[in-house]
């Protein structure tokens, strides 16, 4: 803007210095942000877990699982949960490989993780459409039908992140993961990619953990 033009613009070297500073900050922000996101999500899911235990222990009108209550299909729920776990672990394995400089292996693993995640979401939707009880027939049914739409929406959102990473990785030469790229710009873009990837892995593993805990609540407990 005008007043900026009045000033002698800082030299290129100096500007690179600032850019590098904010590059560092950005990479730290990815780390902090993923942890913070886990914190917020934990409270959101905690809200449903609280509802689960509260209604279960209160059992008002004897209808936590009223008379003639039918459990949703266990095999289906278990499949969904296992898919989520597999997806997370495959992606985690891929992360280890790409740290070791093997980009292609991560790409394959990532694709598998994406596929399994989407499968889990699809199955979840199908299960919700074919529930053996009306949503309001008991406390259990309420928490069940209330929780899973939220969860699968968030799973979908995180999977978009994975898709973004997969798309981005196509444009990064595999060599950059093995040795320092020639230019600063490339180095920074690789570092940004890796920071984003590890943050994603953290969040996605957390989602898998949630999938397991709520599977435990709804099917095992």
């Amino acid at each position: 803007m005008a007043e900026m033009a009045a000033q002698p613009s800082p030299s290129a070297a100096v500007q690179a210095e600032d850019e590098a500073f904010y590059h560092e900050s950005g990479i730290n922000a990815a780390w902090t942000g993923s942890r913070l996101a886990i914190g917020g999500l934990a409270f959101l899911f905690g809200c449903f877990a609280f509802a689960y235990f509260y209604l279960r222990s209160l059992n008002s009108a004897g209808r936590w699982q009223g008379s003639g209550f039918v459990q949703p299909a266990v095999w289906l729920g278990t499949t969904i949960m296992v898919l989520a776990l597999l997806s997370a672990s495959v992606n985690w394995y891929g992360l280890q490989r790409i740290k070791a400089g093997r980009k292609s292996i991560w790409q394959i693993a990532g694709l598998f993780a994406l596929a399994m995640g989407l499968a889990a979401v699809a199955l979840q939707i199908w299960q919700l459409t074919t529930l053996p009880f009306p949503p309001g027939s008991s406390g259990y049914s309420s928490v069940f039908t209330g929780f899973y739409p939220v969860f699968l929406t968030l799973q979908l959102a995180v999977l978009i992140w994975l898709e973004i990473l997969l798309a981005r990785s196509r444009f990064i030469p595999a060599m950059s993961f093995v040795e320092q790229p020639p230019t600063v710009t490339e180095t920074q873009s690789v570092q940004r990619f890796q920071a984003s990837l590890s943050s994603f892995t953290t969040v996605w593993s957390f989602m898998a953990l949630i999938a397991f805990s709520f599977w435990f609540l709804f099917y095992a407990l």
Binding site: Q7, Y22, P134
Partner: protein
């Protein structure tokens, strides 16, 4: 002092030359509010159709001639369409195609000086701050209008001007609108605008999340108001179940709008925490952080952690109403207690989400106008952190008479009263700061003093409410009403106006008319107290909240309150007049550092340049070293090359998962 020696940058006007940005396409060819509006309307009708398709044949819909599914889906699609129309998802699609994001336009100087950028999905945190400023004032004025309607109905216990249902509608609208507004009225305008400036950063961590946070508030405003078209909602701002499940379709607007505002709060807080942790300039130690940033930091934690519970509760309320889950229906295995627990688990941190930024602002103001360092910086920080932490452990003091965990009441009585210790720190710091000061009675200072006056009364009355037997008389009565109006309006709104008069010269290079400002302050302060002090008495005399009629012997007192409430409204008009005239027509220039403040933002040109700082500044001293002989300037705005480079570790290989510094 060092400040006077700071050279002033360029010419004062913030708007730059008229013709700048003329080269780009006209405003209506950009995605912006107008395209967003189109998307919203289209989205609403699509969602409404879909909802009728899905839920039209529910027994509930056909019996009651209402279909909540259609309304809620309409709202959801409207919001999505609105965001899509604004162009929020453009970058997302870029990323999904693997393309790198474009550089922030303001760094390329593409962001014209015109006004169009305020109606777009602009990523500059200063623009977002100004958008918030206008948005929140709109919220505030609308909410205030509803307050006037409430007092009009309460003029007479017997003759009903707006009648019981419209009265409940107005009460609900007022409470909800104000609560939604208050949670962003300081963090929005001043937090987004000055947060990065105060920590010496050129940018925020997640500018898109920040901008999205703002652009969710207009739909929340419209949706909440739209409930009037459906007959409003009868539950007040707390939305207690099962009354909320029983209510007509106006109720959906409440849950949806409040949930939406919750998401906006989460995004804003999320961005702020990450920014404050990672984007502080070199030398900006935690021990040098301005107190306003500390307040913002603690509040952001509350927002990120407590508000998801509100979102969850609103979501449950919506599913109960639309797809007929039974979270809150006792007869079917739900529980009305569940909602009360969830809501207040959010609701109590919420009241500190409202209070803490106020503490931050007034601390900045008093230190500047006492020309003194803060008395006990660490104590104040401890106070903020203590309040924030304790606020998670007190929610059941809203439920003393409800029969929920009655044997836990002593514990919650203790935690509630414990909060008064860190709150006391705030007062200790203020009182210490005034000692041996050189007090300038500027308008911001007056508002800050009024803040301490009102908040003291509000806080002490809170102690009455924390004591279970006393609370048995006061709970749910006008006493509580007076209490939280003293803390929220008397506290936060006074702090907001203080901040407005304090920072407006920095934001626009324009200062509001002083005489009108003083009139505004004195009328507001006087009529605020004449309005809300009698409410304590009304509560004590047994007048419950949210009643459209009351005992006849309370009529005189109520009329007194109503009349002074109208005067309070009039004093807001004085402010509005001053604001509009000063901003649009008088445009009294205020350049540089009128308050001779040491704080970082005042060391910049007015208004701040597009990228805040030409270089990453190096912070040399705390912001409050007033009266210190040969005190260092607060920052070196143009550090020699190499200094910044040595401030960060050289780029390391592999995914960076280092702990943040300090």
């Amino acid at each position: 002092m060092a400040i006077e020696t700071q050279p002033e940058r360029a010419e004062p006007t913030g708007r730059g030359p008229e013709t700048a940005g003329g080269g780009e396409r006209p405003w209506w060819q950009h995605m912006g509010a107008h395209t967003g509006l189109i998307g919203a309307v289209a989205g609403y009708f699509l969602g409404h159709w879909l909802g009728n398709f899905l839920g039209g044949d529910f027994a509930r819909s056909s019996l009651s001639d209402e279909n909540d599914v259609a309304i809620v889906l309409g709202y959801s699609f409207a919001v999505i369409g609105w965001l899509a129309g604004l162009g929020v998802f453009n970058d997302l699609f870029l990323l999904m195609r693997g393309k790198p994001l474009p550089e922030e336009p303001r760094f390329l100087g593409q962001e014209g000086p015109g006004l169009a950028k305020y109606f777009r999905f602009t990523l500059d945190h200063k623009v977002v701050g100004i958008q918030y400023l206008y948005g929140m004032i709109a919220y505030f004025l609308t909410g205030g209008l509803f307050a006037m309607a409430i007092r009009t109905e309460l003029l007479s216990p017997n003759y009903h001007i707006i009648g019981p249902e419209q009265y409940l509608m107005v009460v609900g609208e007022h409470g909800t609108m104000m609560m939604m507004m208050m949670s962003s009225v300081v963090l929005g305008p001043f937090g987004q605008y000055f947060g990065p400036l105060l920590i010496g950063s050129k940018r925020v961590a997640f500018p898109r999340l920040e901008a999205l946070g703002f652009w969710l508030t207009p739909p929340a405003y419209i949706i909440l108001l739209s409930s009037i078209l459906f007959g409003g909602f009868p539950t007040g701002w707390t939305g207690y179940e099962p009354l909320a499940t029983q209510a007509t379709t106006g109720m959906d607007a409440y849950f949806f709008a409040f949930g939406l505002m919750g998401i906006s709060m989460i995004l804003a807080g999320f961005n702020m925490i990450v920014t404050i942790i990672n984007f502080r300039a070199p030398g900006m130690r935690w021990s040098r952080l301005p107190m306003f940033v500390w307040g913002q930091f603690t509040v952001s934690w509350l927002q990120v952690l407590a508000v998801p519970v509100l979102v969850g509760a609103c979501y449950m309320g919506l599913t109960d109403r639309t797809f007929q889950t039974a979270f809150f229906t006792n007869q079917l295995g739900g529980s009305s207690f569940l909602y009360q627990n969830l809501f207040w688990f959010f609701g109590h941190p919420e009241v500190y989400i409202l209070a803490l930024p106020g503490f931050g602002i007034v601390t900045e103001i008093i230190s500047t106008f006492c020309r003194k360092p803060l008395f006990g910086y660490k104590v104040q920080v401890a106070g903020l952190l203590g309040v924030a932490t304790l606020s998670f452990f007190v929610w059941q003091h809203h439920l003393f008479d409800s029969g929920i965990n009655p044997d836990m009441r002593p514990l919650f009585m203790l935690t509630t009263e414990l909060i008064s210790i860190p709150t006391g720190f705030i007062y200790l710091v203020a009182m210490g700061t005034f000692w041996k000061a050189r007090i300038r009675f500027t308008i911001p200072m007056l508002f800050a003093l009024a803040f301490y006056f009102n908040f003291l009364i509000g806080g002490i009355s809170g102690v009455f409410l924390s004591d279970v037997p006393a609370d048995t008389t006061e709970h749910g009565s006008f006493f509580v009403m007076a209490h939280f109006h003293y803390t929220i309006m008397g506290g936060l709104i006074f702090a907001f106006f203080g901040g407005l008069y304090y920072w407006l010269p920095k934001m626009f290079g324009i200062k509001l008319n002083e005489t009108l400002g003083k009139i505004h302050f004195w009328t507001m302060f006087l009529f605020f107290n004449t309005t809300f002090l009698p409410l304590f008495a009304l509560g004590m005399l047994g007048m419950p909240r949210r009643v459209f009629t009351y005992a006849r012997n309370l009529e005189t007192l109520n009329d007194w309150v109503s009349i002074s409430a109208f005067c309070l409204g009039a004093s807001m008009l004085i402010f509005l007049f001053n604001f509009v005239m000063s901003m649009a027509f008088w445009r009294q220039r205020e350049v540089g550092n009128p308050w001779r403040s040491r704080s970082l933002e005042w060391q910049l040109s007015t208004p701040p340049p597009a990228e805040n700082f030409r270089r990453v500044p190096v912070i040399l001293a705390g912001p409050y070293d007033y009266g210190v002989k040969d005190a260092l300037p607060v920052a070196d705005l143009d550090p020699p090359p190499g200094v910044i480079g040595s401030a960060y570790a050289p780029a390391t290989r592999g995914p960076v998962t280092r702990e943040v510094e300090d």
